[in-house]
């Protein structure tokens, strides 16, 4: 008697039916979960207990899996840097000479800028606290672009915090738990970031599409951007602080504007989470009102005395108008705060962010 004629010959049909029923039940469960997830708001979903627990469980596993690769990469980097040390030393000396000149210029401009801000009573942005973190997982598929960091709520990392590398913005936090945080990258298809073109001050929305270079959408005006323009965060909507470097504008094969991200220059290993939440962090009203002018230099004091003596001698109608002098970037402020007319709006050029070399 062959096996098929035996007592097990009827087993196949019931099991096939049971298997089909199991598949249908599993499918219904999946659809139910999907619908429930779509109903909930994104924040509710992200901060759900399931995702939090999952990320917490995943973090040590991912860190362990990445550790050997990291060690090998560091060892290879050490060997490569040792071999090319002489050449690198020469290049760095050249760069240091250039950077020293720039440093002096930046110091002078910062000083001038602080004075203008103080005189105009501008709402300047104080330095924000940051938290250093290490990337332990790198999800880079076409449907999701995210990173897992090894710091979390215990260090004050919160949903919405921007994340930057040494080159520029990489994304923002979309989920935190103890010891772990998830970053949604600028390249994720669901990422939307308000940005500005540094040269023209034109606004746009940086839209991820799963590729390496996210798109610039909703650009307005005539020629708002050109190839190589530096793109910064605009701060609109309060998602990001204004002026964080993002990348440079490039045109793709189809004529669409994209941004080549600064953060894409090197593998993401260590990053910084900027503990920025919204505009309310920028300063209290008392702090903003209590702005103080920087002290005057001796030459400025002499000029002030001369101006005051001229005012006392001349009739009031012949007083010089101080406003035009403030519009010139190199002009010295002639008088103290009350004599300065209020600026109509905070000029964007007064608070530029240093753009890194791409």
């Amino acid at each position: 008697m062959s096996f098929r004629d035996g007592p097990f010959q009827d087993l196949k049909v019931p099991l096939a039916l049971a298997g089909a029923a199991a598949a249908v039940i599993a499918l219904i469960l999946a659809v139910f979960l999907f619908i429930q997830d779509q109903k909930a708001s994104s924040h509710a979903v992200i901060s759900s207990a399931v995702r939090t627990k999952f990320d917490q469980t995943l973090e040590p596993i991912s860190a362990g899996a990445a550790a050997p690769i990291r060690w090998m990469s560091e060892a290879a980097g050490y060997v490569a840097s040792y071999i090319g040390a002489v050449e690198e030393n020469q290049r760095l000396k050249h760069e240091v000479a250039q950077v020293q000149k720039l440093r002096d210029q930046v110091t002078a401009l910062q000083n001038l800028n602080r004075r203008y801000e103080s005189m105009l009573g501008l709402r300047t942005e104080p330095p924000l606290p940051t938290v250093a973190a290490r990337v332990v997982s790198d999800v880079h598929g076409p449907y999701s672009q995210a990173r897992l960091l090894d710091v979390g709520a215990e260090k004050g990392v919160a949903v919405g915090n921007p994340v930057i590398s040494e080159h520029g913005v990489i994304g923002r936090i979309v989920g935190t738990a103890r010891g772990v945080a998830r970053v949604l990258l600028l390249t994720d298809p669901e990422s939307r970031t308000p940005v500005l073109v540094n040269a023209t001050n034109a606004r746009a929305i940086l839209t991820g599409d799963g590729g390496g270079d996210p798109r610039l959408l909703y650009l307005r005006g005539r020629n708002p951007v050109k190839e190589g323009d530096v793109i910064l965060t605009s701060g609109d909507g309060g998602l990001y602080p204004r002026g964080l470097p993002v990348g440079v504008a490039v045109k793709d094969l189809f004529g669409l504007w994209r941004v080549r991200l600064y953060s894409d220059q090197a593998p993401l290993d260590f990053v910084e989470v900027v503990r920025y939440e919204d505009f309310s962090q920028l300063g209290t009203s008392q702090a903003l009102e209590a702005h103080q002018l920087p002290p005057l230099s001796p030459s400025e004091q002499a000029q002030l005395k001369a101006t005051l003596s001229a005012r006392s001698a001349a009739p009031p109608a012949s007083l010089p108008k101080p406003a035009p002098t403030l519009a010139k970037p190199n002009a010295k402020p002639p008088t103290k705060g009350p004599a300065v007319p209020p600026a109509p709006s905070p000029a964007p050029s007064l608070t530029p962010a240093p753009a890194p070399t791409p």
């Binding site: 096996f3 097990f8 087993l11 196949k12 099991l15 096939a16 049971a18 298997g19 089909a20 199991a22 598949a23 039940i25 599993a26 499918l27 469960l29 999946a30 659809v31 139910f32 979960l33 999907f34 619908i35 429930q36 997830d37 979903v45 399931v50 995702r51 999952f54 995943l58 596993i61 991912s62 899996a65 990445a66 690769i69 990469s73 990337v135 332990v136 997982s137 790198d138 999800v139 880079h140 598929g141 076409p142 449907y143 999701s144 995210a146 990173r147 979309v174 989920g175 998830r182 949604l184 298809p189 669901e190 839209t207 599409d209 799963g210 590729g211 798109r215 959408l217 593998p267 993401l268």
Partner: protein, 170 residues
């Protein structure tokens, strides 16, 4: 009971491959770049969704696939249930046509695997386009699809390894 007539234990053909698929997904997400390129990140559990129903009908298979799909959803930060649904759809369709394709030539199996995988990628693309109000970039999706299709030999190996392992389903 052991030997060739022993029933196939679910742990061997469901548990271990599922764990290996999840481990491989984790490894593919290591932050590593070589010559400026990152590791490809294919949908590795697609192999299971295609191979399991051909190997044999199972009560545990769909639920194991549901768990693997939920793992993908959580790991890739997608909507919960999407990849579970996608994988189970492939499983269900393959289950329906298993009598037609079981024992067929390799190219027939590959055509079925490729067709089902591409259908899933198309659905995923459309879902993302609708959800994000902007068409996603086709280049990474194409690379992802090609990498997933390149996993067919693993699916074929699984089928060859376990299809005849249980004499009740010969």
């Amino acid at each position: 009971m052991s030997g060739p007539s022993a029933p196939l234990r679910p742990w061997v053909w469901l548990g271990i491959p599922a764990l290996m698929a999840m481990a491989a997904t984790l490894v593919a997400a290591i932050p590593l770049r070589f010559l400026g390129l990152r590791l490809p990140e294919p949908v590795i559990p697609m192999v299971l969704a295609f191979a399991w129903p051909i190997i044999r009908p199972s009560l545990l298979g769909p639920f194991a696939l549901l768990l693997v799909g939920l793992f993908l959803d959580l790991f890739w930060n997608g909507p919960l249930g999407f990849w579970a649904f996608a994988l189970l759809s492939v499983y269900s369709i393959t289950f329906l046509i298993r009598n037609l394709i079981a024992g067929q030539a390799v190219r027939v199996l590959f055509a079925c695997y490729g067709g089902l995988s591409l259908a899933v990628f198309l659905i995923a693309y459309l879902r993302l386009a609708i959800r994000s109000d902007a068409p996603p970039d086709l280049v990474p999706i194409t690379i992802n699809a090609i990498c997933t299709l390149a996993l067919f030999p693993i699916a074929h190996h699984l089928i060859e390894r376990f299809e005849d392992a249980d004499i009740r389903f010969r």
